[in-house]
Amino acid sequence: MDRRVAVIGIGTTGFRAASPEVSYREMIYEAAVKAYSDAGLAPDQIGSFIACSEDISEGTSIFDEYCPDQIGGARRPVHSVSGDGLHGIITAAMNIQTGLFETALVECHSKVSNCIDPVEIMNYALDPIYNRPLGEHPEFIAGLEMRRYLYESKAQPKDCAAVVQKNRAHALKNPWAAYPANLELEEIQDSPATFDPLREIDRAHHADGASVVILASADWVKKNRVKNPVWVKGMGWISEDPGLEMRPWGRSIATQKAAKMAYKQAGIRSPRSEIDFAEVDDTYSYKELQHLEDLWFFPLGGAAKAVRSGLTRSDGKFPVNVSGGCLGMGNAAEASGLQRVLEIVTQLRGEAGVRQLKRVRQAVAQSWRGIPTTSCAVAVLSKGVNS
């Protein structure tokens, strides 16, 4: 049996700061209709439906109740995954690989603008006995991580500022992005510290939006002569310590292990030379640097040098977050991870318009589930089967 799985359809509403004109159902419906149209499929041709969500972000318990209708999944095999969009892609791929389904659909969305106090939601994720009673703003965790990362990698806060500058500038060419900006390095460095060394501007703003991705088996792709499949060649996902007490603060060990898992499946030995570009989590600016190193693209400290030299710019040799990343597009919760996949698919198909990268064949998507988690997922996506 051919176990390969490909992305055959994508749809997104794009991200924006708020979306008062549509309900979550209507917003997701738009993304789903676009994905079906892109794949040339109808809902009854989907085998398994996967929705990624978390109750507290929605303000609804057992939110999976409300997932089926807007993705065409009523009275069908639908389940939710409390994971990022990349976890959704991985789940869909495994579903197809069993041989039980030929196709699967993944949905993620964010209506974070409906949450009156997103910080309290983040706080509510902290260990209720050990950590939450401290009563601190939960983003102090990012401050602690950033300091340790800078210490270990010898990167500078201005390198993090360069990540902000790059990604928000990348977003200028992305119509799906909510926070495009032309910023000077100085004004970024002047942004007030929140949890020093973390500055206000190092953090991705929240955004609303919905995205849907449709996947299919290799047999299905062949049978239906899909002209631009993007193959999921490798997948990895790992959860490390959920508490704060025993985690290594400077590195993302989960990303390291997940990347090894994905590269092994994809047969990648030298990530930096075999991968053309990457879309990685940058919920906080330092995270992009840390994640690039933990994805084995650069040695410790190498990512800072890369951003300084312009290597990771859209016109550089190894573009990173050409979509704008979370900093430029906005942090749309579970949809952020799925958006990394959407961007890669768009680029590999050659449909990225003004931000189209040249001669790209293979890319890596990586996501992190945010504070306080250590859960990360990695996927290798490729245009050709054997590239």
Partner: protein, 386 residues
């Protein structure tokens, strides 16, 4: 399709309020399952967590919070989610981890710690209703069961007295279950005379709120045969989610359960469920639900299940033993863990290791099912000895 077997199972005791944290309960169940399989955590390739609303534990992203307790530290880890159906969905999720060819072993842990939710866990269920069109009416979870039970009774002309036989049977069956929270010998009269909560639902028609955890270990064919000489195979899996507009459906029949069952039976090659299924563990958070679900599982015709309960056909030594474990009504209902308890029961029954609960006649195949959301989701697993 790659074959997947259950090779070990473990439970904690189910109780109204445990001092142990959710992480600790998860750990105990996981350890018990590993011991049962004669395995160690290092033998586990990936971990699946099943747990219902975050509002119970009072932790956002509670799957993340529970990961170390369930042995997921440093491993691929996913939390699947279909409300009350999660307990039987989690092993399905474990199944696809292995059937995909990605892994050879998977630890599936289900946990629920409802007691921490104040003033009462029922309060957490207010937020399962539509935030704009229903929540302003302050619905209680009991309402939807009462509404469904009434519709079911009215459509088929079934009485509360007939339905009460299920509560009597399951609570009695639970007397032989070491994990049981509410084992007791009661009569139909006791059920009828217990306090009315939301007519037609009386107190003894309902399962309790509970703290508890359950775990099973799944393995690929090759691995399973090395681990044990009595693997129990997952022969079929099915799941189905109906529309969230629950007031636009006729609640008298769980069509989503039928669809999930048909999916699982097709995969298992079961053509005549009533003949080919020897034990059933349908979801029984309320006594009428067992009947409702037996019909959805095609184990009898629509409206016929009550008769089977009254006639003793579904007793442990009856022709079709249903909930020989004691079910949620007797063993308890730590939501996701309760569903996985049913999988554990089939595992032990089919191995002939259920002790005092053992169903006579060397059963070869069983079905477990859970239900959830707004009268909406069916999850079904068919397990057998070959």
């Amino acid at each position: 399709m790659r074959k997947v077997a259950v090779v070990g199972a473990g439970l904690t005791k189910f109780m109204r309020r445990a001092q142990e944290t959710g992480k600790e309960l998860s750990f105990e169940a996981a350890r018990a399952a590993l011991d049962n399989a004669g395995m160690q955590l290092k033998d586990i390739d990936c971990v699946v967590m099943g747990t219902a609303p975050d509002a119970f534990d009072g932790v956002h992203m509670k799957g993340e919070y529970l990961s170390d307790g369930s042995g997921a530290w440093g491993r691929p880890y996913l939390r699947g989610y279909v409300g009350g159906g999660t307990g039987v969905f989690a092993p399905i999720q474990g199944w696809y981890h292995i059937a995909s060819g990605m892994f050879d072993t998977c630890l599936v842990v289900c946990e629920e710690k409802m007691s921490g939710c104040k003033p009462h866990p029922q309060g957490a269920f207010l937020t399962i209703f539509d935030h704009t069109t229903e929540r302003p009416l302050y619905p209680n979870l009991l309402w939807i069961f009462a509404l469904e039970m009434n519709r079911y009774m009215t459509t088929h002309g079934i009485t509360k007295r007939e339905i009460a036989h299920v509560a009597v049977k399951n609570k009695k069956n639970a007397m032989d279950h070491p994990s049981a929270q509410l084992p007791m010998e009661i009569t139909v009269e006791d059920v009828m005379n217990s306090e009315v909560m939301a007519w037609p639902v009386n107190r003894l028609d309902v399962s309790p709120t509970s703290d508890g955890a359950a775990a099973v270990i799944l393995a690929s064919e090759e691995k399973a045969k090395k681990i044990t000489d009595k693997p129990i195979w997952i022969q079929g899996v099915g799941w189905n989610l109906d529309t969230s507009y629950w007031t636009n459906r006729d609640l008298y029949y769980p069509e989503y359960v039928e669809r999930a069952a048909r999916m699982a039976y097709k995969m298992a090659g079961v053509k005549e469920p009533r003949k080919e299924i020897h034990i059933a563990e349908p979801y029984d958070p309320f006594d009428y639900k067992e009947l409702h679900h037996m019909e959805g599982l095609l184990l009898c015709g629509k409206g016929e299940a009550a008769r089977l309960a009254v006639d003793g056909v579904t007793a442990r030594d009856g022709d079709l033993p249903v909930c020989p474990s004691g079910g949620l009504l007797g063993v308890g209902n730590p939501i996701a863990a309760a569903g996985l308890m049913k999988i554990s029961e089939l595992f032990w029954q089919l191995r002939g290791e259920a002790g005092k609960r053992q169903v006579p006649g060397q059963p070869k195949r069983g079905v477990a099912q859970a239900w959830g959301d707004l009268m909406q989701v069916g999850t079904v697993v068919v397990m057998g000895v070959d």
